[in-house]
C-alpha cells in the first residue's frame, strides 16, 4: 500500500472569476478573429469596394445629371447613392460572418471551443459581439468615407448644395447635381445606418453559420437571401409582391440609408429608416435565437 500518487505541483495561478464564460470567450474570439488572414482580407475589401463603388456610382450619376429625366432627378439621393458600395461590401461581410462559425465546424475546432466553454450560449454571444464590433468599426469607417468621398466627387463634377428649405421641385430643376453636407437633415443618421446595415447582416450571416454549420451552404443561403430572393419577388405579380418587397433585407438597407425627408418618395416601396432598421434587427435576432436554440440542443 505504498502506491500513493505524488502530489502534483501546478504552476497555474488561480483563475479570477467564477467560471469559464463570456469574458474569456470574448478575448478568445477576438484572438481567433485577428489571427487568420482571411479576416483582414475581408475587412480590406469591405473598405476598398465600399468606398470605391460609391465614388464610381456618384461620378457616373453626376456626369449624367443634365440628361436625367425629372423622375430620376426627384429620386436622386446623394446620401443613399454614396452608400451604394455597401451593397457590394455586404457579400464580404456575409463571408466574414459565416466563416467565423463554419470554419470551426469544418475543421472540428468547434468541439474544442465548446469543450472550453460548456455554456454554449456564451460561445454564440461572444462570436456575435466580436464580429459585430469589428464590422461596426470597419463598416462605419466605410460608410462615412463613402459619404465624404462621394460628396467630394459630386463637388468635383460641379455639384452644388441646394439652399435650406429647397423642395423636390427645386431638386428636379437644379442645374447642377445636388450635394448634401453631413449636417443635412437625416444625413448623419443615414450614413450611420449604412454601417449598421452591415453589422446586422454580419449577425445574420453568423447565425446562418451556426444553423447550417457548413461554409458553402451558409454563404449560398446568405447570398440567396440578399440577391436571389429579390429576383424571385420581382418576377411575381406586382400587386402581390409590392406588399412584402419592402421587407427584403436589401430593400431594408435602401430604406435605412435614405434621407428621412425623401422617404415619402418611396411610399409603399421602402420602409422608413427606423422601421427598416428595426425589421432587419428583428431578422438578425430571430436567426440568432434559432441558432442559439440549435446550438444548445444539437450534438457538437
Amino acid at each position: 500500500m505504498t502506491a500513493i500518487a505524488p502530489t502534483r505541483v501546478t504552476s497555474l495561478p488561480e483563475p479570477s472569476g467564477r467560471r469559464a464564460g463570456l469574458r474569456g470567450e470574448l478575448a478568445s474570439e477576438w484572438t481567433k478573429l485577428r489571427t487568420v488572414r482571411s479576416t483582414w482580407i475581408c475587412l480590406a475589401i469591405i473598405v476598398v469596394a465600399g468606398v470605391g463603388l460609391s465614388a464610381l456610382v456618384l461620378s457616373i450619376e453626376a456626369g449624367r445629371w443634365v440628361h436625367l429625366a425629372a423622375d430620376e432627378r426627384a429620386l436622386f439621393d446623394p446620401v443613399r447613392s454614396s452608400q451604394t458600395g455597401l451593397f457590394l461590401a455586404e457579400f464580404v461581410v456575409g463571408v466574414l460572418g459565416a466563416l467565423v462559425v463554419t470554419s470551426e465546424y469544418g475543421t472540428g475546432a468547434m468541439r474544442t471551443t465548446l469543450a472550453s466553454v460548456p455554456r454554449r450560449t456564451s460561445v454564440l454571444i461572444a462570436k456575435l459581439l466580436v464580429v459585430g464590433a469589428v464590422v461596426l468599426v470597419v463598416a462605419e469607417v466605410t460608410a462615412f468615407a463613402s459619404f465624404f468621398v462621394g460628396q467630394a466627387v459630386l463637388l468635383g463634377q460641379g455639384g452644388t448644395s441646394l439652399p435650406a428649405g429647397s423642395t423636390l421641385i427645386d431638386q428636379v430643376h437644379a442645374a447642377n447635381v445636388p450635394v448634401y453636407g453631413i449636417g443635412h437633415p437625416g444625413a448623419l443618421r443615414a450614413v450611420f445606418f449604412g454601417g449598421l446595415y452591415l453589422v446586422l447582416l454580419a449577425f445574420l450571416a453568423c447565425a446562418i453559420g451556426f444553423i447550417l454549420r457548413h461554409t458553402a451552404g451558409s454563404i449560398s443561403t446568405y447570398v440567396g437571401v440578399l440577391l436571389v430572393l429579390p429576383l424571385i419577388v420581382s418576377i411575381l405579380p406586382s400587386s402581390f409582391a409590392n406588399s412584402f418587397e419592402k421587407y427584403l433585407p436589401s430593400n431594408l438597407g435602401l430604406g435605412m440609408t435614405a434621407v428621412t425627408t425623401r422617404t415619402t418618395d418611396f411610399a409603399g416601396i421602402l420602409l422608413t429608416p427606423w422601421v427598416a432598421a428595426g425589421v432587419l434587427a428583428a431578422y438578425a435576432a430571430a436567426a440568432s435565437l434559432l441558432a442559439g436554440w440549435l446550438l444548445v440542443r444539437r450534438d457538437a
Binding site: 505524488p6 502534483r8 504552476s11 467560471r19 470567450e25 468541439r111 474544442t112 469543450a115 472550453s116 460548456p118
Partner: protein, 345 residues
C-alpha cells in the same frame, strides 16, 4: 486559495486512500443515431494514477463515448461524470479535463501559438503557459507557423499541447499515436505514463491492442458500443487466453493417440507439429515420456494481446476486410507468438 472543485476532490481522494476513487464514471451510457445504437448501455470506471486504455475496433463507439464524456454529444440514455459532476458543471473545464479529440481540429491558417492562446483565454490560463506547453511537446520552434502546414505528427503534438494547457487532472486522448513516427509513438507512450505517475487520470482510446499492452494498466474494451471487459491488462490476458502447448515429434500419429488417451485436447498444428489445448508443458512432457515418445520440441504458447483482442471483437467488427477469415491449416486462433525453445531428446 480555492481550487476548482473537481481538482481538489481528485487530489484529496488520492491522499485519503492509495486506491483512488473512480474519476470518470459512466453508467448505462447509450447513444443512438436513428435506429443505430452507437453506444449501448456502457458502464465503466476510470481511476487516477494509471493509464486506462479504451479499446475497440474502428467504429465501435470510442469517439462517441469520448464526446459524451466531454459534454459534446448528449447521451440518449445514461450519464457520465467526472469527479462526480457532469462536464457542463465543471467551472473551468480546461483546468480539469484536457482532451485530444481530433488532431487536425485547428484552423489551417492560424498559428499554433494563436490557437493555444485562444484556448487559454477561455479558461483564464496565463499566456506564459502557452509557451510552456509548446516547449513540452517540442513545437516551440514552429509555434508561429500556420497549423495547416503541420504534418499529422506535428498536429498530434499540437493537440496534446492543447490538452495539457490547463494542467488538468484528467486527460482524454482519442487515438493519440495515429500518424506518429516510431520516435513520436515512444514519446507519447512515455508522456502518458508520466502523466499517470503524477497522479492524473489518463484515458486513451486505441484500436491497437499491442499499443495498449505497452502503455495501459487498466482496460475498458468495447465492441459495437457494448462493454466487453473492464479490468486490468493483466487480468484481461489471464482470463482471456487459453494456454496451448506446441509439441513436435517424429512419431506424430502415435503421440496424438497417446495424448488423446491421456484425456488432452490435441489438434494438428502448423508444419506437422501438434497443438495441445488446456494442458501444461509438464503434462504433455510426462505423457510423452510415459509412452516413450521422442520429442523434438515442447513449448508453451501464449496468445498475444492482439490475438485475444481480435478474437473477442471479431464478431463485433462492423466492416470486415476482404481477407478470408478461415484459419490456415487448422492452426489455433491466431498463430503462436512465443518463439518456442527447442527441447532436446
Amino acid at each position: 486559495m480555492c481550487r476548482p472543485v473537481g481538482r481538489s476532490g481528485l487530489l484529496g481522494s488520492i491522499h485519503a486512500e492509495p486506491r483512488a476513487l473512480p474519476v470518470i464514471s459512466a453508467v448505462g451510457l447509450s447513444k443512438s443515431y436513428g435506429s443505430t445504437r452507437a453506444v449501448d448501455e456502457l458502464s465503466f470506471e476510470v481511476r487516477s494514477g494509471v493509464v486506462t486504455g479504451f479499446l475497440g475496433p474502428n467504429g465501435s463507439g470510442k469517439s462517441t463515448t469520448m464526446r459524451m464524456v466531454m459534454g459534446l454529444d448528449r447521451p440518449t440514455a445514461g450519464s457520465v461524470t467526472i469527479n462526480g459532476v457532469g462536464y457542463h458543471d465543471l467551472r473551468w473545464p480546461l483546468r480539469e479535463v484536457g482532451a485530444l479529440l481530433e488532431a487536425k481540429a485547428v484552423h489551417p491558417g492560424r498559428s499554433a501559438y494563436a490557437h493555444l492562446l485562444s484556448l487559454a483565454q477561455t479558461n483564464a490560463i496565463p499566456r506564459s503557459r502557452v509557451d510552456d506547453v509548446l516547449a513540452m511537446v517540442g513545437l516551440e520552434g514552429v509555434s508561429r507557423r500556420k497549423a495547416g502546414k503541420f504534418s499529422l505528427g506535428m498536429s498530434q503534438r499540437l493537440g496534446i499541447a492543447s490538452a495539457l494547457l490547463g494542467d488538468p487532472g484528467v486527460l482524454l486522448f482519442d487515438e493519440p499515436i495515429n500518424g506518429l513516427d516510431p520516435e513520436g509513438i515512444l514519446w507519447v507512450r512515455n508522456l502518458l505514463k508520466s502523466l499517470a505517475a503524477e497522479g492524473r487520470t489518463v484515458f486513451v482510446s486505441s484500436h491497437l491492442m499491442s499499443e495498449m499492452a505497452q502503455t495501459a494498466t487498466d482496460l475498458v474494451v468495447i465492441g459495437r458500443g457494448r462493454l466487453i471487459s473492464d479490468t486490468s491488462v493483466e487480468n484481461f490476458i489471464a482470463s482471456n487466453t487459453e494456454s496451448t502447448v506446441l509439441v513436435r515429434t517424429p512419431e506424430t500419429e502415435r503421440l496424438q493417440g497417446v495424448l488423446a488417451a491421456a484425456g488432452l485436447r490435441v489438434a494438428p498444428g502448423a508444419d506437422g507439429g501438434l497443438v495441445v489445448t488446456g494442458a501444461t508443458a509438464v503434462q504433455v512432457g510426462e505423457a510423452a515420456h510415459a509412452a516413450s515418445v521422442m520429442l523434438h520440441e515442447l513449448s508453451p504458447q501464449q496468445a498475444s494481446l492482439e490475438e485475444v483482442f481480435m478474437d473477442m471483437t471479431s464478431d463485433m467488427v462492423d466492416y470486415h476486410g476482404l481477407t478470408p477469415d478461415a484459419p490456415v491449416d487448422g492452426a489455433p486462433a491466431g498463430a503462436p507468438s512465443g518463439a518456442g525453445a527447442e527441447v532436446g531428446r
